[in-house]
Amino acid sequence: MFRPRPDSPAARIAVEVEGRAVLVPAGASAAAAVLMAGLPSIRDTPVGHHERAPYCMMGVCFDCLAEIDGVPNRQSCMVAARPGMRIRRQRGARPPPFPPLRSPGQAQGGED
């Protein structure tokens, strides 16, 4: 659906979008990589579970939310693509980042 502009620099940065290898030019955003991967959407909304794809490309609409290198809910249009970056689908709301539970036997007095 999307093609690079004819005047864009050569696509040399290799990223992974939902398991697909994608090459994007230096300076491209992770959201641009999502569009170049040809995916119909990159997230499901938390309430209505509707599919969304990058839209505003300027940090306003939040429709490009993705899990990037293991961090959920990133605005992919605001993140520059880096070699080896892994961009994954954001499925609804992320879980709260609770610390792992420790069993009472492991509980220590000190704070970590």
Binding site: A93, P96, P97
Partner: protein
């Protein structure tokens, strides 16, 4: 309406312009504007602005099975951090030091909150009665004129919709709302 005034027949307000609007009933619910507006209708709502600031995180799945005081999660998953109270007139600007304090207290309570992104933050003014409780009244001078004031229209929305509004429609406030009359601020008369 720039400024309401009861009509000459006492049955409705006129406007600052040429147009005149009539209504058998009127509810003054202009928030902080009620301080100035209510005396024109023989009512009293001495509300003052109190600034509150709030931070909102990215959405997560349900984090707590219960609502908490100044850390609340919406059903959609946003976590709202807030509860600051400042007396700064009508200034709605945000202050980094207050925002920092709100964030620090939240992280002291739940350290994992530090890993969440803040996606929105704002300041706004509460419509604060002198004792913090709502003011509901009807005008004795101008029957049909009512007023409703409170600092949390969200918390009390159900009471306004299901209790207050039917009373207005009926034409008189139920005695159950008498404790919320502004007459409570006139200590010598109330004694």
């Amino acid at each position: 309406m720039d400024r309401g005034r009861p009509g000459r027949d006492g049955r409705g307000p006129s406007t600052a312009g040429a147009e005149r609007l009539g209504a058998p009933k009127i509810v003054l619910a202009a928030g902080l504007g009620n301080a100035e507006l209510t005396p024109l209708f023989g009512l009293n709502a001495p509300v003052r602005p109190q600034r509150g600031q709030i931070l909102v995180t990215e959405r997560t799945t349900r984090a707590w099975p219960i609502p908490l005081g100044s850390i609340r999660q919406t059903p959609e998953g946003s976590i709202l951090l807030g509860s600051s109270e400042e007396d700064v007139g009508f200034d709605t600007s945000q202050k980094p030091e207050i925002m920092r304090t709100i964030a620090r207290r939240a992280v002291l309570s739940f350290p994992w909150l530090a890993e969440l992104q803040i996606v929105r933050a704002w300041a706004a003014l509460r419509v604060m009665p002198p004792d913090g409780l709502p003011i509901y009244d009807e005008s004795e001078r101008f029957p049909g004129a009512f007023t409703a004031n409170c600092h949390s229209g969200v918390t009390l929305a159900a009471a306004h919709a299901n209790l207050f509004a039917p009373m207005v429609a009926k034409g008189a406030l139920d005695p159950m709302l008498a404790p919320f009359s502004a007459k409570r601020f006139d200590v010598s008369a109330a004694a």
